[in-house]
Structure formats: structure tokens, C-alpha cells
């Protein structure tokens, strides 16, 4: 009995000292994320599209050279602007410190708290240096959440000069020039594109991200789309096949005009050769009146991860990557239109046909800021239904009602 008790006491002692040690090293992490900048290597992870990697490396090395008082170590990874949101939200800790993303993702990223707010002199500089629309695209409720990087994520009209000698003004002008083997292409089944009709007709995205597409203006826009898809000179390609199809279409002359953006500029230029031309979107008819097609003005922004371990440095890098010099460099290397006021006025930029057309169209386009995430799938359903070419005008109202319901009551 005595032996047992002695043994017991010994073990109890062992156990309780162990517990004591454990409770004291209970490391629940709730520290403030500040950076400790003194004389340590600053490790920054940077994301960019695959074609931007080389350019990014040059820019970051220049940054390190310009700030030689600290040591920098960069890690690069390939995450395209369109994938940025999803990849960050999946695991914010493992995400980059600095990354590019397209501005329609801003609202979701801010709502999830993934972006660091930008303040102080960084904010005032960004506002002063960049065009109003591009700055506005990065602002929510008066707070700046990212640095404007490019102002070229929108769409406009490319056309074959040999068929349409002067820039076409209206949709009917284009359609008149089409035949059964020379068509006009627009990805109307995709919500990003078919919004051009709705926005042009006067529908809106409210500040609390609700739409009114099922009102009279929306119905008019829907009727115009319906009329277009039934025209034999029109062709629609679905999402993944759209870009490749218009590229090969321009090359073998089965397409005379198509709606697309600057990402295809090089390839379309190659396909059309001397007949390469671009201009703003045409007008379309609503109740007998010609209305300019609107569209989405998309901007690429550079965001800083709020979880970054080196927040100050990351913000510095973000500002650096979007300064005037680097925006010009981005234009020269990758033909991306700058959002910086001075850079945009550069002669070389103005001479770029695609960017000029985009700039012209941008006056009529609206920002993607207030577009809720549920809009894309819903409007795509609508567009896809219409593209089949069998929908009667009378059914349009019901379909629009469905779209609005899916967007405004997203079951959350």
C-alpha cells in the first residue's frame, strides 16, 4: 500500500509539472501584426500573371536597389489577376503580400478583410497621380484599399478595315456589312458583355449591390439583344471558345468585327495585319432611338495583404509597382494601359490603337465596383437562353424577373 501511494505521488508530481509547463506555453496568437524592420531580411511574396513574371522581377529588383538600406528577398508565384480573389480567400496566410487583381473583386476582398487599407501619404499620392475613374475603382466608402495599376480592362470593338472602311457608329451599320460567312461576333451569352446593353439602356447597379434590370429599360435592352441574336450576321461563341474563335475568325476572314479587349490586341493585330482597327462600341436601337452601348470599365489594382508580416514594406512595394515609371514600363513591356495621369498622356500610349479605342469607350462605361458576385452567373443564364435564338419577346419579362431575383436575393 505504501509503495503504491509513493508511486502515485511521484507520478502526480510528474503530471502536474507537465501541465504547468503546457499551460504557460499556451501560445494563442493574438499579437498585433507589426513589422520589425530593423536590419532583418524583408521577405515579400509577389503574385502576377504568367506573362508578367519577367517584368515583375525587374521591377522588384529595381525596388530593392532603390531601397538599399534594407535587404529584400522576393518570392514570386504565378496567380493570374482573375484568380487572385479565390486564391487569397482560400488561405489568406499563405497568400502573397502584394498582388494584382481586377477591380470587380475589390468588394469581396474588402468584405473578407483581406486587403490592407491604404492611408497617409500613400493615399494622397495615389489620388493625385492616377485618373479619377481608376482611383475611384479602388475606393470603397471613401477608403482606399488598393493602388490603381492599369486602366485597360474593358472592351470595345475590333474590326477589319478592309470591310468597314470607317469606324462603324451603329450596330445596324455593322450588321449591314455582314453576310452568312462574314459575321459580327459578341459574347452576348456572357454577363460581362451583355451588360453593355442593359447599362446603355439605363439600368443600374445600386450602391448596395442590387439591380433593376427587370424594369422597362431592362426590357428594352433585352429586346435589342433578342433581336441581335436572331440576326443571321451575328455569331456568339461561348466563354472558353470566344477568344480563340474570333482570333481564327479574323485570320480567315469569317469575322469582320468583334467585341473584345486589350488582352487580345497583339493576337488580333497579328491576325488582321494591315487591316487592324479598333474603335468604341457601336450604338444600338431602343424604341427607335440610337443609344450608345455602355460596358464595364475594368481596372487592375495592386493590393496588399492585410495578413502580411511586413506590412510597411509591402505597401511601399505596392506604391512602387504602380508609380508613373513602372506604369510606363508596363505599357512598353505588356501593352497595358496606364492609370497614371502622366503616363496615360504619353505619346506612345496615345498611339496604341487598342488603348485609344478603350479610352474612347471608357467615357461611356461604368465601374464594376457595385456588381455583386451573384450577378455573373445569373446574367449568363439569361444571355445563354437568348443566344439559342428561340426566345419570344413575350417571355423576356419573366426571365428578367428571375435574373433579378437570383441577384437581389442571393439566399444569404
Amino acid at each position: 500500500m505504501k509503495k503504491t501511494i509513493a508511486l502515485f505521488l511521484v507520478l502526480i508530481f510528474v503530471l502536474s509539472s507537465a501541465m504547468f509547463v503546457f499551460t504557460s506555453c499556451n501560445n494563442v496568437d493574438d499579437g498585433i501584426i507589426t513589422d520589425t524592420g530593423e536590419a532583418q531580411t524583408v521577405k515579400l511574396k509577389v503574385w502576377g500573371a504568367d506573362k508578367d513574371q519577367d517584368m515583375l522581377k525587374e521591377m522588384c529588383n529595381a525596388f530593392a536597389a532603390a531601397n538599399s538600406d534594407k535587404k529584400y528577398e522576393f518570392e514570386y508565384a504565378i496567380v493570374g489577376e482573375g484568380d487572385a480573389k479565390k486564391t487569397i480567400l482560400d488561405d489568406p496566410d499563405a497568400a502573397a503580400d502584394v498582388f494584382s487583381f481586377s477591380n470587380d473583386q475589390l468588394a469581396d476582398l474588402v468584405a473578407a478583410g483581406a486587403l490592407a487599407q491604404i492611408g497617409g501619404t500613400y493615399k494622397t499620392t495615389a489620388e493625385a497621380d492616377n485618373t479619377e475613374t481608376s482611383y475611384d475603382a479602388a475606393v470603397i466608402d471613401g477608403k482606399l484599399y488598393a493602388f490603381p495599376e492599369t486602366a485597360d480592362n474593358g472592351y470595345f470593338l475590333y474590326y477589319d478595315k478592309s470591310v468597314l472602311e470607317t469606324p462603324p457608329i451603329s450596330l445596324s451599320e455593322i450588321l449591314v456589312a455582314t453576310t452568312s460567312s462574314k459575321k459580327f461576333a459578341m459574347n452576348v451569352s456572357n454577363s460581362w458583355y451583355n451588360a453593355a446593353f442593359f447599362l446603355g439602356a439605363g439600368c443600374t447597379f445600386s450602391d448596395d449591390q442590387k439591380i433593376d434590370f427587370n424594369n422597362a429599360k431592362g426590357l428594352n435592352a433585352a429586346k435589342s439583344i433578342n433581336e441581335l441574336v436572331k440576326n443571321s450576321g451575328f455569331v456568339n461563341f461561348t466563354n472558353e471558345t470566344y477568344d480563340p474563335s474570333i482570333l481564327s475568325g479574323f485570320a480567315d476572314k469569317t469575322i469582320i468585327a468583334a467585341v473584345s479587349g486589350t488582352w487580345n490586341a497583339e493576337a488580333i493585330k497579328e491576325a488582321l495585319g494591315d487591316n487592324y482597327a479598333a474603335c468604341k462600341l457601336p450604338t444600338f436601337t431602343v424604341d427607335g432611338v440610337e443609344v450608345q452601348m455602355s460596358g464595364f470599365a475594368g481596372f487592375k489594382l495592386v493590393g496588399v495583404n492585410s495578413n502580411s508580416a511586413y506590412l510597411t514594406e509591402a505597401i511601399k512595394l505596392g506604391a512602387w509597382l504602380t508609380n508613373e515609371e513602372n506604369q510606363l514600363k508596363r505599357f512598353e513591356d505588356r501593352a497595358m494601359g496606364p492609370s497614371n495621369k502622366v503616363a496615360a498622356q504619353d505619346d506612345k500610349v496615345k498611339a496604341n490603337i487598342a488603348l485609344a479605342a478603350l479610352a474612347e469607350q471608357l467615357q461611356y462605361s461604368i465601374s464594376q465596383k457595385n456588381v455583386p458576385g451573384s450577378f455573373w452567373n445569373a446574367a449568363e443564364g439569361f444571355g445563354t437562353d437568348l443566344v439559342a435564338g428561340t426566345v419570344e419577346d413575350s417571355a423576356l419579362q419573366g426571365m428578367l424577373d428571375n435574373v433579378v431575383e437570383a441577384v437581389n436575393n442571393p439566399v444569404s
Binding site: L11, L15, A112, S189, T241, S306, A388, V411, S412
Partner: protein, 505 residues
């Protein structure tokens, strides 16, 4: 033997083995509704039995406490005490080590998360402006998702620990009883030997089970819990918290709240999923079998060559061949170009972009993908059908068709019934084919975030990656899971297969 058993019928007893199989199948289908009902009626009783068992464990432990001697009682505080006191050192210390490890885990990790499970976090991310550097700094708040996940993991480990705790106490008590009776106290080497023999099953299933628990069971529990929260785009960690909302999501999907679009969509997709699974499984099975029979037929040469040709398609990664098919059947794809240049059609056929046509085309392309598999399987089995059955049938004057329906088909169905069920369930969850061919499209405004060829599972995927609507996705996942599970449990357990297990051995 339950009511209505056919096993004692004269017809059954007199019939040959094959006919018995056929009768079994017929009876399975006939009694399906009543068995389904029985399953659900028994369910509460079975669940209740589990709780009763747990309760009896507790009773047993209390009994041990009361009856055991000092050392055993002390084992309640220091795990393994009783074993150590009776010279079963290694085993005892192992228990103690596990106890220490558990408390280490619990105090440094588990406690925090389990505590947070009730509210799923109360402190959200804090933003603080640092005047000095002009930077906004962030204080990390609670991460609801991690709290939920790690909370579940911790809870699970706690339960595991309690089971281990009980087992250690029982072991100590057993050792005490053994000593009292004057029996031999087992050495540790004896324990090890047991693991290789008497308790071999424990060693065998230990590691795989751990893996399954980590990678399948815990995630399932996590997903089920998600369905009761409001985790979606507007409640995204780390910036926001989400919390429990009870059955609200279920109510939305079943149509009891404002959004009827969701309920309608769910119904439509559910219907199409079943139709798809039925046709996909059926066509692959029948045609695969026919193909195997053709190759297998006496007098056909190059058997190996033909089989190899068909099997080659399996070697190409599925997404490659499906992507290829998608290109070929596109509106401007090869197939359309071919048909147009041959003058058969003037306008391209919307193989994959028209809702109704796409549904049919998808089933056809799935045949191309799946028939080689079924062909392989049925080949092996076909070779096992005794030839004299066919001989006697032919002598009796039966033609090929009759032979097929009277001999081959019943035999195959009987033997591969479980395989068919697995395939059916597999097709309900067949993500690759649908997603890669049409992305679930064509999208339509009639349905919420989904298209005409969407299965439950592709819809689920789009909801998570496209709209971050995790809560609804979880509900769909649960429904898919329940449907598959109930269906397969009923058919598998009550078909002849489970009972026949003993026959071969």
C-alpha cells in the same frame, strides 16, 4: 428469416442455382419499398441502441471504481497507474505517456477552439491606424472557419481520449483481477504477440482508419456543420465572423423561405442527376457487356488486340480526352465542320450548347469514356459462365437473343449487382464528365447559378468556387450524401450479396 421469405418455397428449392439468383433479384425489387420503410423505422431503434451501449460503458467504469483496489482507483487520476503498480511497466508507462501527450495537446490547442465552438468567434479583425508610419495595421481576430474545424478535430480527439482512458482503466482492473486470482501477469512481449495474432485486426486497421478519420470522416462532420452556419460571401473570414443559424439553409432549399428560385433549381437538378445516373450507368453496362460478348465470342480472332484498343482510352487522363471531345463537339468544332462540309446540315448543331441536345450528347460521350471499363469487368465474369448452360440451351433450340435474356443477363445482373449500384452512385457524383464537357451549362435564367446539365455535385462546386456560398453548398452536399448512402445501404444489405458472403468460404 423474416416474413415473406421465399427461401422455403418449393419453386426456390427445386430451382437450379441460376434460377435461384433470378428469383432473388425479383424478390429484391418487389420488396424494396417495404424494406426501405423497415430501414427507416429501425433507424431510431439502431441509433438508440448506440446510446444505450455508451451508457453501459459508463456504468461499467463506475462499477470498476467502486470495486477496484487502491491502485486501480488511482488509475483514474494517473492513467496506467494500476498497470505500473503490478509490474506491467511498459504498458503502464505507455498509458501515462499518452495521457501527458493528450493534455499537452488539449491545453495548448484544444481548449481554445472547443470553447469557441458555441459562438464561432466573437472578435473580428481590428483595424488600427498607425500615425507614425501612415499604415493601417491589423489585429487578428477570431477566424470562424478555423474555430469550427479545429474545434471539431479537438472534440474528436477528446472523445478518442476518453475511450482510451476507459480502456486503460479496464485494463488496470483486469490486471488486478488477474493478480488476485494468482494468474500470470502478461509481459509486454505477450501484448505485442497478441497484436500479431489474437488482435491482429487491430494492427491491420489502425493506420488506415486513422487516415480515413483524418481525411474523410472529420471533413464530413465539418461540412455537415457548415450547413448549419451562414458561411458565405458576406461572412468571409478572416474579416468577418459567421455563426450558427440552425435549419435556415434547409428551409431555403426546400422552398419555405422567400427564395423559391433556389428550391425550384434544387428540384430540377436533383431530377436530372437521377436521370443522368440511370442512363449513364445503364448504357455503359449494357453496351459494355455486349461489346465484351462480341469480343469473347467463339471464333473471333484478335481478342487481345480488340481489348487493347478499347482499353487504350483508359490510359489517357480523363480530362484530356474530355477536353478533346468538348473541342470536337463545339459549335465550330470538327464534328460540325465535317457534317456541314458533307452537306448533311447547313447550320452547326449545338451539341453542347443547347440544353436538351447537350443532355443527350453528354450521355453518349460518357459511353465512350466508360464502356472500356465495363467491358473489362464483364469480360472477366463472362468467361466464368459455364459453357454447358449455353450448350443445353442451344440444343433446346434457343436462339442467340433468347440465350442472352435467359442466361447471360440474369447471371451478370446477379453477380455484378453491387458493382452496378456502386456505378450508379458513382455517376450521381460524376463530376469530371459533366464539368469538363459543358461546365454544367448551358446556363439558364430559370435556375440559380446553374445550367441544364448540372449535377448536384457540379452545382456544389460552382457555388463554392464561384460564389463562395459554402453554406448552401454544404446543404447540397449533405443531401447528395444522404441519397447515395441510404440507397446503397438498403440495396446492398438486403440483396443476396451480404448473405452470400459465407458461401465461398
Amino acid at each position: 428469416m423474416h416474413k415473406g421469405s421465399f427461401v422455403m418455397d418449393y419453386e426456390y428449392l427445386l430451382a437450379g442455382k441460376l434460377k435461384r439468383g433470378f428469383i432473388r433479384i425479383r424478390e429484391s425489387f418487389k420488396s424494396f419499398p417495404s424494406r426501405a420503410l423497415l430501414f427507416f423505422i429501425n433507424l431510431p431503434r439502431n441509433i438508440g441502441a448506440v446510446f444505450i451501449k455508451i451508457y453501459s460503458h459508463f456504468k461499467e467504469i463506475v462499477k470498476i471504481f467502486v470495486l477496484g483496489d487502491m491502485a486501480t482507483k488511482l488509475s483514474f487520476v494517473v492513467m496506467g497507474m494500476g498497470c505500473i503498480a503490478r509490474k506491467r511497466f511498459i504498458r503502464g508507462f505507455l498509458y501515462l505517456l499518452l495521457q501527458v501527450l493528450f493534455w499537452f495537446f488539449f491545453l495548448t490547442f484544444g481548449v481554445v477552439y472547443i470553447a469557441g465552438l458555441g459562438t464561432l468567434g466573437t472578435v473580428s479583425q481590428l483595424e488600427v491606424y498607425n500615425e507614425g508610419t501612415g499604415i493601417f495595421e491589423y489585429v487578428k481576430g477570431d477566424n470562424s472557419m478555423l474555430i469550427l474545424l479545429y474545434g471539431i478535430v479537438s472534440l474528436f480527439l477528446v472523445v478518442l481520449y476518453i475511450a482510451l482512458y476507459f480502456s486503460s482503466i479496464r485494463e488496470c482492473y483486469r490486471t488486478e483481477m488477474l493478480k488476485k486470482r494468482g494468474g500470470q501477469i502478461p509481459f509486454f512481449s505477450d501484448d505485442v504477440q497478441d497484436l500479431m495474432d489474437k488482435d491482429f485486426h487491430k494492427s491491420l486497421i489502425f493506420v488506415p482508419s486513422v487516415m480515413i478519420i483524418c481525411f474523410t470522416i472529420l471533413p464530413i462532420i465539418f461540412m455537415v456543420c457548415l450547413a448549419f452556419t451562414n458561411y458565405d460571401r458576406l461572412h468571409m473570414p478572416p474579416g468577418n465572423l459567421f455563426t450558427w443559424v440552425g435549419f435556415e439553409n434547409f428551409r431555403s432549399i426546400m422552398g419555405f423561405s422567400d427564395s423559391s428560385l433556389l428550391a425550384k433549381t434544387f428540384g430540377k437538378i436533383l431530377g436530372w442527376t437521377f436521370v443522368w445516373a440511370f442512363f449513364a450507368t445503364g448504357t455503359n453496362y449494357i453496351f459494355g457487356m455486349l461489346l465484351a460478348m462480341m469480343i469473347n465470342k467463339k471464333g473471333i480472332k484478335f481478342k487481345r488486340l480488340f481489348r487493347t484498343v478499347f482499353v487504350l482510352t483508359i490510359a489517357v487522363p480523363q480530362f484530356v480526352s474530355l477536353m478533346f471531345m468538348r473541342n470536337v463537339f463545339a459549335d465550330t468544332g470538327l464534328f460540325n465542320v465535317f457534317l456541314q462540309s458533307a452537306g448533311i446540315i447547313s447550320e452547326p448543331v449545338k451539341f453542347l450548347t443547347d440544353g436538351d441536345i447537350a443532355r443527350v450528347v453528354v450521355i453518349f460521350i460518357n459511353m465512350w469514356v466508360g464502356i472500356p471499363y465495363t467491358m473489362l469487368i464483364t469480360t472477366g465474369i463472362l468467361m466464368n459462365i459455364p459453357n454447358d448452360l449455353y450448350e443445353s440451351a442451344r440444343i433446346d433450340g434457343a436462339g442467340t437473343a433468347k440465350q442472352f435474356f435467359a442466361i447471360t443477363l440474369p447471371y451478370m445482373l446477379f453477380v455484378t449487382a453491387p458493382y452496378l449500384i456502386t456505378q450508379f452512385i458513382g455517376n450521381i457524383n460524376n463530376f469530371n464528365v459533366i464539368w469538363l464537357l459543358t461546365n454544367g451549362g448551358p446556363m439558364t435564367s430559370d435556375m440559380y447559378a446553374s445550367g441544364r446539365t448540372d449535377l448536384l455535385i457540379t452545382w456544389l462546386y460552382r457555388l463554392t468556387t464561384g460564389e463562395q456560398n459554402y453554406k448552401i453548398a454544404s446543404v447540397i452536399g449533405i443531401f447528395t450524401f444522404i441519397i447515395s448512402a441510404v440507397f446503397s445501404l438498403i440495396v446492398y444489405n438486403y440483396s443476396g450479396s451480404a448473405r452470400r458472403e459465407g458461401e465461398f468460404q
